[in-house]
């Protein structure tokens, strides 16, 4: 019952944001992932790193987890706002 109420609240929020044409990333806290080819990825709006190895990087977003899988993955820079991942990206998954 409570879960349903939470879902409908987020749905309502989304409808309002969409109808007012407000930016979703700031209003809903959605993560922005920009992938350039298969070698670079920029990620904004995330909470932190959950796992970091050469083959996979798992990030905690505000609403979901984002998993980058590939080879020779490394983090070029990492701040509170955004980060850049480079290497051979094979798969981006939202968990």
């Amino acid at each position: 019952m409570r879960k349903n109420a939470k879902l409908s609240l987020s749905k309502q929020k989304e409808i309002i944001v969409e109808s007012l044409k407000l930016p979703k990333d700031t209003m809903l806290g959605a993560s922005i992932v920009s992938v350039t080819g298969n070698s670079e990825a920029f990620i904004e709006n995330y909470k932190g790193i959950l796992e970091y190895s050469k083959d996979s990087i798992v990030l905690q977003g505000k609403s979901c987890r984002i998993c980058f899988q590939g080879r020779q993955l490394s983090i070029d820079y990492y701040t509170n706002e955004d980060m850049k991942i480079s290497g051979v990206i094979e798969c981006v998954r939202y968990i």
């Binding site: 983090i75 820079y77 990492y78 701040t79």
Partner: protein, 426 residues
């Protein structure tokens, strides 16, 4: 740009290992500590962090149960103390900088562009008189003034522009193409006034024996007429111009530099003999490289072993060592190639001989054309023998075959009235 700021502020490469390195990274982000180049090496991570950030890591390390060690230091804050120990190096660096700063305040090269009639030397000499020379201070340059001076000094220069490019003074001029440069342009004497000088008269003499076919005299007294035969060295136009008395007797002579257009026609025959047999160089394809080193006129050939060919050609290129744009050192280097050949006796075919003869004839024509000689009549015959061909050319040429020579002093004939006056004086 960011890299330069990081370098100026200093950063360190660190190794992080321990219980929860991911949490450590997240905390760095939350505390606004910039970390970059994060690499996972299995058991440990390496990353780069600013010096300021590194000191702020202490609490985070304790909180997350990780440990960190510095791998390498980068940037100016670490470089300065290191350099302080190398005083002579720093002094050298400063002296070098000062040297460049001082040297760039002078003009080290003068380039002149756009001059065709006026040679570089002429302009350089003029610039020298104006105090413009290499190794002069840039601040002493009065560009506007010099541009004006150049235009005023040489009438042929219609436009002049001076530009300082680094340590080079670039002078660009534009010449008036319609006006032929005359060295007397700057002469103050008025050309309307005849420059009669009793000692500097010039006659025009023939340099070839022949017939005068064209003659226009501008200054002087013509001594021959069109159609007359002349000998080599014969006087054609005299620079001594007689001034007559009222009774048409010669009072005196005024000497001028005779000026006339004269063309003399003369016959000339040329005979060229070419043998049909020749020796052809057949290259065997064997080649030997010789290195060349030279100082001034002395050359040193460096090769592995001697050149063992019976007959060979040597060709190559020699380069001079050059510093900057204009500074040449008397040191040469280069590579020479010795190519082996064999002389094989051969005989030219008829077509080849024809080509050779055509070439010879063209060469004659070209030489005559370069000298400005006209051919009014020609008779070309080729005599073909088995072992040689002979080209016989009989031509009638028209040429301005004249030269100038100092005028001979003319004796003034004594008139009867003068004789009478002399007698009465006695």
């Amino acid at each position: 740009m960011l890299h330069w700021i990081q370098y100026l502020r200093g950063y360190v490469s660190i190794k992080v290992w321990g219980y929860s390195t991911e949490r450590f990274l997240n905390l760095c982000g939350n505390h606004d500590i910039l970390i970059w180049d994060i690499e996972n090496h299995g058991d440990y991570y390496t990353m780069k962090v600013s010096v300021k950030g590194f000191f702020a890591l202490k609490t985070l390390l304790r909180k997350t149960g990780t440990r960190a060690s510095v791998l390498r230091r980068y940037g100016l804050p670490f470089f300065v103390p290191k350099i302080k120990r190398r005083k002579i190096f720093v002094a050298g660096l400063i002296v070098c900088l000062l040297f460049w700063m001082i040297m760039t305040r002078f003009i080290w090269n003068i380039k002149i562009d756009g001059n065709y009639s006026l040679t570089d030397d002429v302009l350089m000499d003029y610039l020298e008189t104006k105090g413009i020379h290499t190794a002069m201070k840039k601040s002493d340059l009065q560009i506007e003034e010099l541009e004006r001076d150049l235009r005023e000094e040489y009438d042929i220069i219609t436009w002049a522009s001076l530009k300082v490019d680094g340590t080079t003074l670039l002078i660009q001029v534009k010449e008036n193409e319609m006006q032929e440069y005359d060295t007397d342009v700057t002469n103050d004497s008025d050309p309307a006034v005849p420059d009669a000088d009793e000692k500097a008269g010039k006659d025009i003499l023939a340099t070839k024996a022949g017939t005068v076919v064209y003659m226009i005299t501008r200054k002087g007294v013509p001594q021959v007429a069109v159609g007359e035969n002349v000998e080599k060295g014969q006087l054609l136009v005299s620079g001594a111009v007689p001034v007559y008395n009222e009774d048409t007797t010669v009072r005196r002579y005024q000497y001028y530099e005779a000026d006339a257009d004269i063309k003399i026609s003369y016959d000339k025959s040329v005979s060229i003999e070419k043998k049909t047999a020749y020796e052809d160089k057949v290259y065997s394809g064997r080649e030997k490289k010789i290195l060349l080193l030279g100082i001034n006129d002395k050359e040193l050939n460096l090769s592995f072993g001697k050149v063992k060919f019976a007959a060979y050609d040597v060709s190559g290129e020699k380069k001079q060592v050059q510093l900057l744009d204009q500074l040449f050192l008397p040191v040469y280097y280069g590579v020479k190639h010795a190519r082996e050949y064999e002389l094989v006796p051969k005989i030219h075919t008829e077509e080849e001989m024809q080509d050779i003869m055509d070439n010879e004839w063209n060469k004659i024509l070209q030489t005559l054309e370069e000298k400005g000689v006209e051919i009014t009549q020609k008779n070309v015959t080729i005599k073909k023998n088995e072992d040689k061909w002979i080209l016989n050319v009989k031509m009638t040429l028209v040429e301005s075959a004249v030269k100038k020579a100092d005028s001979a002093t003319m004796q003034i004939p004594i008139t009867e009235s003068e004789e009478a006056a002399e007698i009465s004086n006695e």
